[in-house]
């Protein structure tokens, strides 16, 4: 009788079975994400209805029926309004944006001098791009060029009056030029100011602490328009007779003060998140106050609050549009000013111009927020769980 061993050990892995058909492929995805339950199905139907209702209208308006080029308002108006389009036509009037593009970018900056802002923009991009790519070396030199050399060069290029360049007064600046220059200088001023205010608020000297608290809380409690009013009507009263500020400079002061107060609160959050041991460690090494802050605390604190800082920058870029209320013309201001041009007054003009401005703002802000998310992931070295 042959001995039969009942024990059996499997030596090879069983072949993996494919998941059941209901759990894989497009069908499973649809079942899980779109028709999981009765309520879900109703929501999906509702969502599809919204998309089908909105999307064709938007595409029709913005692309299919849109007018891209044209000399004046007739191309964007229907026959009954005195134009060439059939009655009942609605579509975007990109011809308006096309015709006014130079103004939207530079305001009333003299046409023959527009190479100057363009040159500044090229320099800015050439310095900004290597700054944003982490692998490119010499960040210190790059930052020095971007934040110190470029503003000086840009100032002389844009304002002129030296080296044979004709002088261009700031009231002639406008459009994207004002939006970007105001926000860039505002960022460059408000970040150090915010750091100083945040340090002051956490200072042990009572007078300095309370001065910072009063400044930060007052500015955060009032709208930017009030700050701009303050800068545009009260600053001239504060100065002795004969001394006067440029309107652009006044707006710049208002925007920077406003952003600095918000920046200070963001940075204070970072300072509070640094463990006490870091401060004590720096003290025990014999570092002075500025060494302790500059070498130990701030590098860690600023890294923690990068998202908050970028959010403040985004807020600032959006807030520059408010200078239109003290009659300066940034991108939004110029677009709005051009609605009044009788040569282009059509029912579609405001919508088209505003959507163009919205698109430009959106690109800038969305780009900034995405870059900050990328940096956040890259710098997330310590506190990973």
């Amino acid at each position: 009788m042959q001995e039969h061993d009942m024990s059996w050990v499997r030596t090879e892995m069983a072949l993996a079975q494919p998941a059941p058909p209901t759990e894989r492929g497009a069908y499973a995805w649809v079942r899980k994400n779109l028709i999981g339950s009765v309520g879900d199905t109703i929501l999906t139907v509702l969502g599809i209805a919204i998309v089908l209702w909105v999307l064709p209208q938007v595409i029709n308006w913005a692309f299919i029926n849109a007018v891209w080029t044209g000399p004046d308002r007739t191309v964007c108006t229907t026959a009954s309004q005195g134009g060439i389009q059939p009655d009942g036509w609605t579509g975007a009037c990109w011809a308006f944006v096309n015709a006014k593009f130079g103004q939207f970018m530079f305001g009333t900056y003299p046409v023959e001098e527009r190479w100057r802002p363009i040159l500044v923009a090229i320099l800015f991009v050439a310095l900004l791009v290597p700054m944003l790519i982490p692998r490119v070396p010499r960040k210190g030199l790059n930052a020095l060029l971007l934040f110190v050399a470029l503003p000086i060069v840009a100032f002389f290029l844009l304002v002129g009056g030296v080296f044979g360049l004709p002088h261009v007064e700031t009231p002639r600046w406008g459009g994207l030029l004002v939006t970007l220059s105001l926000s860039f200088v505002g960022i460059a001023v408000s970040l150090p100011m915010g750091i100083v205010l945040a340090l002051g608020r956490r200072s042990k000297m009572p007078i300095i602490k309370w001065l910072c608290v009063v400044f930060i809380e007052t500015v955060r409690g009032i709208p930017l328009i009030t700050v701009l009013f303050f800068a545009s009507v009260m600053l001239p009263l504060f100065l002795p007779e004969g001394v006067s500020f440029d309107k652009y400079l006044r707006a710049l002061i208002g925007v920077s003060l406003f952003a600095a107060a918000y920046m200070a609160e963001v940075i204070r959050g970072g300072l509070q998140a640094i463990p006490k041991g870091q401060y004590e460690g720096a003290d025990s090494l014999g570092l002075g106050y500025w060494q302790k802050m500059g070498l130990i605390v701030l590098p860690q604190a600023l890294k923690l609050v990068i998202p908050g800082i970028v959010n403040t920058f985004i807020g600032m870029l959006k807030d520059t549009s408010l200078v239109l209320i003290i009659s300066m013309f940034d991108l939004l201001g110029v677009v709005k000013q051009n609605f009044a041009d009788p040569n282009w007054a059509t029912p579609q003009t405001p919508k088209s111009g505003l959507i163009f401005a919205a698109f430009v703002f959106w690109l800038l802000c969305f780009g900034m927020s995405r870059y900050s998310m990328y940096t956040e992931r890259r710098l997330d070295t310590g506190y990973k769980r």
Binding site: D40, G47, I208, I314, L354
Partner: protein, 395 residues
């Protein structure tokens, strides 16, 4: 002991320049001197400038005749009223648009925020697109979009768009039926107040009973029945005093009804749609901040998904949500000052007019700052009370 003797001795310092106390005193004195001298210099300049420009100072101008008209007046106002009354009208308009905006933004924001966490892919994507669009464009642009892009190109009054409940929409604004309260309608108000008090009492007793015996009582439906039922009964009992004044179409315009002006409408829509995008992100972060173990534990205890959300997740999420929500409410209130761009007479717009007419810039800006600071403080105070009720009770 010798070592303790050494410790008790004043630590020797190289010089008093390095003493932190003396240094701090020195820097603070320096700051105070600098501050006061610059304030003195500014005041000196202001007085000189005002004298040179022949501008009066002080708040006496508040009692003189305003001489300008205001389009939206919640209280009686004519151009013969005082500057003070004009500023009060402006303040009331700011409060009206801020409160309406906060309510609308909260509703839209919570809906979008919960939608971003939905199981449903399509709803999730639609809500994400909404948030990413509105977060990244300036609020002023949204206001202009509604005002000159959408509302200004609506049909003229003769071709008004008819909406349900006898309301109309045209380029002059939104016309709603207006409630006309007849004699005896005070009874309805009294009934409503009574119903709210009774509902509160029922809820209180039900909570006590549940704590003592564990028995539950359908508080929600009882309250609904009380709050809806009692006023309806009062309405019937007092002989149906409430009628509606519907807007009627005449040759050139609509007459009667309640007229919402396009300025108010576009400001309200823009502020609430813009702020809703931020509130949605706060709500999403709050709900995601409640750890998954909480809802799993609740599920293990046998709760269904509705009660899990209502009793376990939302109370904890609200703790995370309320502080940033407060700052969004403050932002909305401050952003309502953008009304000046489209001519809605809020506080900033009226104060700006007063400032231009009288030339008293210092007083005008001061009034604006104080008013907004007070509004912000009141909002934070209310939200702090809500926050204190929601906060974690540590035992």
């Amino acid at each position: 002991m010798a070592s303790q003797e050494i410790l008790r001795e004043e630590p020797s310092r190289g010089s008093f320049i390095n003493d932190p106390r003396i240094r701090s005193l020195f820097f603070q004195t320096l700051v105070v001197i600098l501050l006061f001298s610059s304030i003195w210099w500014i005041i000196h300049n202001v007085i000189e400038n005002l004298q040179r420009l022949h501008i009066a100072s002080g708040f006496g101008f508040l009692r003189s005749r305003a001489g300008f008209d205001i389009s939206d007046t919640p209280i009686a106002y004519t151009s013969d009223s005082t500057y003070f009354r004009a500023l009060v009208v402006g303040l009331l308009n700011t409060i009206i648009v801020a409160v309406a905006g906060i309510v609308l933004a909260t509703i839209v924001g919570f809906a979008i925020g919960i939608g971003r966490l939905s199981q449903n892919w399509l709803i999730r994507k639609i809500c994400t697109v909404y948030v990413e669009i509105f977060r990244n464009i300036p609020p002023l642009l949204v206001i202009f979009f509604w005002y000159s892009g959408v509302l200004a190109v609506l049909p003229p009054p003769r071709e008004s768009i008819h909406l349900p409940f006898g309301s109309f929409l045209n380029q002059r604004g939104f016309y709603l039926p207006r409630a006309v309260w007849g004699d005896g309608s005070w009874l309805i108000g009294v009934a409503l107040l009574l119903a709210i008090a009774m509902a509160w009492f029922v809820a209180h007793r039900a909570r006590q009973r549940q704590r003592a015996t564990g028995q539950q009582f359908p508080v929600f439906w009882t309250s609904v029945a009380l709050i809806v039922g009692l006023p309806v009964l009062a309405y019937l009992a007092s002989g149906m005093p409430l009628t509606f004044d519907f807007p009627k179409q005449s040759t050139f315009n609509l007459t009667g009804g309640f007229w919402v002006k396009p300025e108010f409408l576009s400001l309200l829509l823009a502020l609430s749609f813009y702020t809703a995008a931020f509130i949605a992100e706060i709500v999403r972060a709050g709900i995601r901040g409640v750890s998954k173990g909480q809802s799993e534990a609740a599920g293990a205890l046998g709760l269904r998904s509705g009660p899990i959300l209502r009793l376990v997740v939302i109370p904890q999420a609200m703790r995370i949500v309320i502080p940033p929500l407060t700052s969004q409410y403050l932002n909305l209130t401050k952003n309502s000052s953008l009304a000046i761009a489209i001519g809605y007479p809020d506080l900033t717009a009226t104060a700006g007019t007063v400032l231009n007419q009288t030339g008293q810039a210092v007083e005008g800006v001061f009034i604006m700052m104080i008013a907004y600071l007070v509004l912000s403080l009141v909002t934070s105070f209310v939200m702090n009370i809500v926050n204190a009720r929601m906060a974690l009770v540590e035992r």
